[in-house]
Amino acid sequence: MKLPAFDYAAPATMAEAIELLERHGGDARPLAGGQSLMPVLAFRLAQPSMLVDIGRIPGLDSIEIGEDGVRLGARVRWCDILEHPSLRSVHPLLVEAIGHVAHYPIRNRGTVGGSLAHADPAAEMPGIAFTCEATMVIAGRAGTRMVAARDFFTGPLETVIGPAELLVEVRLPPWPAARRWGFEEFARQRGAFALAAVAAFYDERDGVAIGVHLGVIGATGVVQRLPGAEAALEGRPVDAPGIAAAVAAARAEVDPPEDAEASSAYRRSLVGTMVERALAAATAR
């Protein structure tokens, strides 16, 4: 379908962009890569009066790697992450997960900030930000504020970003080089949204798993961790019985919705399988 009518501006500064958003109340929408917003407009699920293209604002597209972790500017594209010379060794989980995002041409435009703001529970970046306990930097008229991932996502396709605010950066905490990790995804087609994906990581001390993080993407209506499965594995060796305990706990604690893609029971089973594969991959790394 053709897009509804809207006005368009491509401001050259952050202050101008925020001013424009403010002036239009809730009726203006930021435009980043457009890889989610354009389909939303084509289906007329939204009819904003104005699109504020953030594509010409300087300073939003850097990838910074430091002692305090990885900082991704809101306008960093999927292709920038995948082609970065050192990110794969600095934060392997991030790069592995982003390799599952959409298709080649879409990865050339889609951005980190757009994905986090869109907050699709089946999208990889929100899942990684949530599982890794990232911090979002949000800019508004009064300056910037920091929001922890657990407070940032308020529901499917919902975040705490206000109508006159912009997400400017996401900060992922430092990633120890020896950390064990796995990312497993099941989708019907390469590049399609996940029916279920699991991000797993832990540190190993004296043969047992410490700080177990298990995040599930796509299978349930929200981005979520698996606290039961994490507890089942915490302080234990990641061997066959440990993995089996985590899988059983994961299947027991998720409550996937039933939809046209899959039944609830199928998705629950799939979550367990993804946990099993992600942990098996982690032990081998």
């Binding site: 379908m1 053709k2 897009l3 509804p4 009518a5 809207f6 006005d7 368009y8 491509a10 435009l31 457009g34 890889q35 354009m38 389909p39 407009l41 084509a42 289906f43 009066s49 699109l51 293209d53 594509g55 292709c79 959409a102 298709h103 080649y104 041409p105 879409i106 050339n108 435009r109 087609q189 390469r190 590049g191």
Partner: protein
């Protein structure tokens, strides 16, 4: 709301400067097809899933249905019309190496998906001339073909690699501009 006034957008298409008057809501795909009459770029789903509309913007494959024409301001756009290598001695349009490989491998039937397939593959091989079969399949995973079954398409792309390894075949040289500002 009443339609916001059109504005002029300027970009380069297949080496030629273009200036077009567009409504902000016009997609790049519709701008190419309707305003510039470059109808080789096909429009299937209009929401990013089929890949028929894929063009190359600033050297990278992109969905022209998921991009506004106004966002192309100052960009370099390449479409299927620029993929040939000009006219041969007989005055017929000469096929570029990727197009010739598609013909050799029967990589098209109805041809609806073909412009998107070719532009995606052209962008890929221009950046990664040594792409292997797995990489080619991965890059083409967002381009749907309802006719061929893909095997010929992947073979054709792999077969075109030597031409790119020898130095990326470009589009046509610039001749004259297109002005559609009215």
């Amino acid at each position: 709301m009443s339609n916001p006034p059109p504005r002029t957008v300027r970009f380069t298409v297949n080496g030629k400067p273009a200036a077009v008057e567009v409504e902000p809501r016009l997609t790049l795909a519709d701008c190419l097809r309707h305003a510039l009459r470059l109808t080789g770029t096909h429009v299937g789903c209009e929401h990013g899933v089929c890949g028929a509309c894929t063009v190359i913007v600033d050297g990278r494959a992109m969905r022209s249905c998921l991009m506004l024409a106004v966002q192309a301001e100052g960009c370099t756009v390449e479409t299927i019309e620029g993929l040939g290598t000009g006219l041969d001695e007989g005055g017929a349009e000469a096929l570029g190496p990727l197009q010739a490989a598609f013909r050799r491998h029967h990589a098209l039937q109805c041809g609806f998906c073909t412009p998107g397939m070719l532009m995606t593959a052209h962008a890929l091989l221009s950046r990664e001339p040594d792409a292997d079969a797995d990489r080619v399949r991965e890059a083409l995973s967002g381009n749907l073909c309802r006719c061929t079954g893909y095997i010929g398409i992947v073979e054709a792309v792999l077969d075109a690699r030597p031409a790119y390894q020898a130095g990326a075949p470009g589009g046509q040289p610039a001749t004259g501009g297109i002005d559609r500002t009215g």
